[in-house]
């Protein structure tokens, strides 16, 4: 609506032409075009792994493109470091905050930009001015650790403005915010837009994009597939642009759900160090042959739910019953032995030993069970059997690797994930907990993993599926529960629910979805 500022002709704040960036084995960005006008909020949409982050790192000087041109205010630029980008008036708010807890707000802002106003009273005055612009109501002398997430984000934006940025890249800024905070952030952004700031807003949340953006560029599998007008486009159309024609078709599956309970969770509560509990009174049931999907905005307790069921965190109250056996007090190992397979959301941190060979990774989590453990109480391992079984997984799950002796770190993300999925389906599990099973994997591996999950479900496996990808959730799940602020707030039938309805329930906008 505010298209007053220089919208004509070549008046682009930022223009990317034919940007291509290759990494060993992958093309992260492939001939991307992007044009951002002055004083607008331009959204960049795409699925996880579509290449958004790489593109923004290129624009911010953290990585250099192999091909293509970057223009800022019409002039060609070549950034060798973030410092160059900052000098050109571009700032970035990272998805993972770049803040130091043990420094004060002012120190966090000043760091690296001491030259502009010193570090004394003049700097504090300037921080005070900008704090009003971004809506930060905290003393600059307060330690950052005392700030909540929304305020931290404001400090991040403040940091960028303090360096004189006129164009601000926001990488998934709403991922960690609750809806009211999102609204406040958007109000701030609109105010700043009126003062002439330009924003590049990266997100895969379509409602938010439509709410805040003046124009949209969609990228898919590393290339830009088009632009859209947020006033006319629907979420469905956007989603189709993002995933292409490969939107999973929910209609063709027949139900394999049985009435045999595999997992029952009752009143599960997990206290936080301070404030609102991370999980409050969670009840859920997964039957054999059923996929229960958990939908939710990231940071609403999904990770904690999974880790509590796995026994990696200790619940304050509540019961976890696996196949009729109460495992609430059992160790992680005992729960695994009782038949839980676990595909963690961050495979490099929780799923793999990066420098160990594939066959050693086969042992992880299965140290006590055949085929990798020898029978008896001595705790001996059967290495030849571990190797053989790893070779089986490599073949069955199509893990692309020259052999089972290479370290896990040498494989691509998709192949690592296939290895993890293969391993976790190998121990005759009765329940599989799959957290974002296709995050950061290529399209081919994604289809393969989906297929394996469907097969296992047909064979009677119970699956608890956590995903940020709504289409994946709807496509795979037999029923869906929505998690918000540590509570299961709604349920939905994947056969009838639309991503929009689900999105509304996830943000708590509508209170109840179809139940």
């Amino acid at each position: 609506m505010t298209e007053s500022t220089a919208a004509d002709g070549d008046g682009y704040a930022v223009e990317l032409v034919g940007i291509t960036k290759r990494f060993p084995g992958v093309v992260a960005n492939d001939d991307i075009h992007l044009q951002v006008r002055h004083g607008e909020v331009h959204a960049l949409c795409g699925e996880n792994g579509a290449g958004k982050s790489t593109l923004m790192k290129i624009l911010y000087g953290m990585q250099r493109p192999d091909e293509g041109t970057i223009r800022v205010d019409g002039a060609d630029v070549a950034f060798r470091s973030p410092a160059d980008a900052i000098r050109a008036g571009i700032g970035m708010v990272h998805q993972h905050f770049m803040l130091a807890d043990n420094l004060t707000v002012a120190e966090n802002v000043l760091l690296g930009a001491e030259a502009s106003h010193g570090i004394g009273a003049r700097a504090r005055a300037r921080i005070g001015e900008l704090a009003r612009v971004v809506g930060l109501r905290t003393e600059p002398g307060v330690l950052l650790e005392r700030l909540g997430v929304a305020d931290r984000q404001r400090v991040e934006i403040l940091k960028v403005l303090y360096r004189g940025a006129r164009t601000v890249i926001l990488d998934e800024p709403t991922a960690v915010l609750v809806p009211q905070e999102v609204d406040e952030l958007f109000a701030t952004l609109r105010g700043m837009k009126a003062e002439g700031y330009t924003f590049l807003f990266i997100s895969h949340k379509l409602d938010e994009v439509r709410a805040i953006a003046d124009s949209i560029t969609v990228i898919r599998r590393g290339t830009s597939v088009g632009t859209a007008d947020p006033r006319t486009v629907t979420s469905r159309e956007l989603a189709e642009m993002m995933v292409g024609s490969e939107l999973p078709d929910p209609g063709t599956r027949e139900s394999t759900v049985t009435d045999r309970e595999v997992l029952r969770v009752e009143g599960l509560t997990l206290a936080a160090e301070a404030g609102r509990p991370l999980l409050a009174d969670v009840d859920l049931v997964v039957h054999a042959g059923e996929v229960l999907g958990i939908a939710g905005v990231e940071g609403n307790g999904q990770t904690e739910l999974v880790e509590t069921i796995m026994g990696m965190r200790h619940a304050g109250a509540g019961r976890v019953v696996l196949a009729g056996k109460d495992v609430s007090r059992a160790s992680t190992l005992a729960r695994r032995e009782a038949g839980i397979g676990y595909v963690p959301e961050d495979r490099t941190r929780h799923g793999l030993l990066a420098s160990q060979p594939l066959w050693a990774n086969r042992i992880l989590g299965y140290q006590t069970r055949p085929p990798v453990a020898r029978p008896g109480r001595l705790g001996l391992l059967d290495l030849p059997a571990a190797r053989r079984d790893t070779e089986r997984i490599v073949a069955e799950f199509d893990v692309r690797t020259p052999g089972v002796d290479v370290p896990a770190a040498a494989l691509s993300g998709g192949n690592q994930q296939k290895l993890v999925v293969g391993r976790e389906l190998s121990g005759d599990p009765v329940l599989l907990i799959a957290s974002h099973p296709t995050r950061g994997v290529d399209v081919g591996a994604q289809a393969g993993i989906w297929e394996e999950l469907r097969k296992a479900r047909a064979a009677g496996l119970a699956v608890l599926l956590i995903s940020a990808d709504l289409d994946e959730l709807i496509g795979l799940s037999d029923s869906i529960a929505v998690i918000l602020r540590g509570r299961l707030v709604a349920t939905a039938d994947p056969a009838t629910v639309t991503p929009e309805e689900l999105g509304a329930a996830m943000t708590g906008a509508d209170g109840e979805a179809a139940s």
């Binding site: 093309v27 290339t223 190992l333 729960r335 030993l353 990066a354 140290q367 691509s412 081919g444």
Partner: protein
Amino acid sequence: MNRVRTVLLPPALAVLFAALLCAVALLVSGDNPLTALAVMITQVGEGTTAVDIVNSAAVYYLAALAVAIGFQMKLFNIGIEGQYRLAACVAAIVGGAVALPPVLHTLVILLVGALTGAAWAGIAALLKAYRGVSEVISTIMLNFVATGLIAFLISTDAFGVLRGNNISTQPIAPSGQVPGIPLGDFGRIFGLIFLSAALGVAYWFLLERTRFGFDLKASGESPTAAAAGGVNSRRMVIIALLLSGAVAGLVGLPELLGRDLAYTLNSPTGYGFTGIAIALLGRNHPVGIAIGALLWAFLDKSALALDNVGVPREIVLIMQGSIVLSVVVAYEIVRRYELAAEQRRVAAQLRARAAEPAGVGSAGAGSTGAGS
């Protein structure tokens, strides 16, 4: 060939680099490095030197094993020093006080040593597991406290006796001693050298063939992945430090039972730090540590020989220090380089394989690139 490059090259280069450094130092101070080298090599054949080297190496080997157990899960037991000294002292006191038949007497002493070492390490283990105290700091502090405790234990107020003008514990009766194996003119090899060897094998087996070893390595590589894989990290910390302390408790015993027979204020110190250096040198591998221990003992003995020809014996200390520092740098460089090379190689092999079956559909990235 690849393994040779990653495993043997870094230490070889480090030794070479350290030798060059020392050669320069000797040249600067007006000594001839070649003479020094010749003396160092010929000394091995003289008198009891060869046996002395093996004996020292056996002791160092135990110390390095103790360190390596902790290193496997990135626990830095800097406290081997205090653990082995206190254990030797307590074992000497107990060994001197009890009267038991042979073998049993020895076994009791060994057991007491291991238990004392484990108990002393156990303090650090509990502090780490339940209070989150860094084992580095706590074991350093415990080293000092052990020194005080030993001085108290062998004072005449406690268990010490005055022999000549030196205070020591009661000597251990022959039933508890482990006599050396005589090798004629070459001297005597410690009987407990077999203990070192056996523990080396046990260490290898534990690490490579058992669930505990796997858990240990997994915890060292990625505590988060180990936890998700069902490894109880608190339990691992405690067991690893207890084991490390138990092995440390044996370090002082070959000399105690084979040579000294009593613990005195002059009993040897410093093996703990030697153990750390050798574990680093041998990269925590049982065979690597053995080689490292022999090298270290060889350098130690060279000091005497060098002194005889007028070369400052302290050059050996520089040699040892620079070997350790350069070897850790060399391992780090090679590790990073190898991982990157491995990733490139895997990618290249997969590309080559994908190219074979007519390239239909497989090169997805390439085809989209051509299409746009």
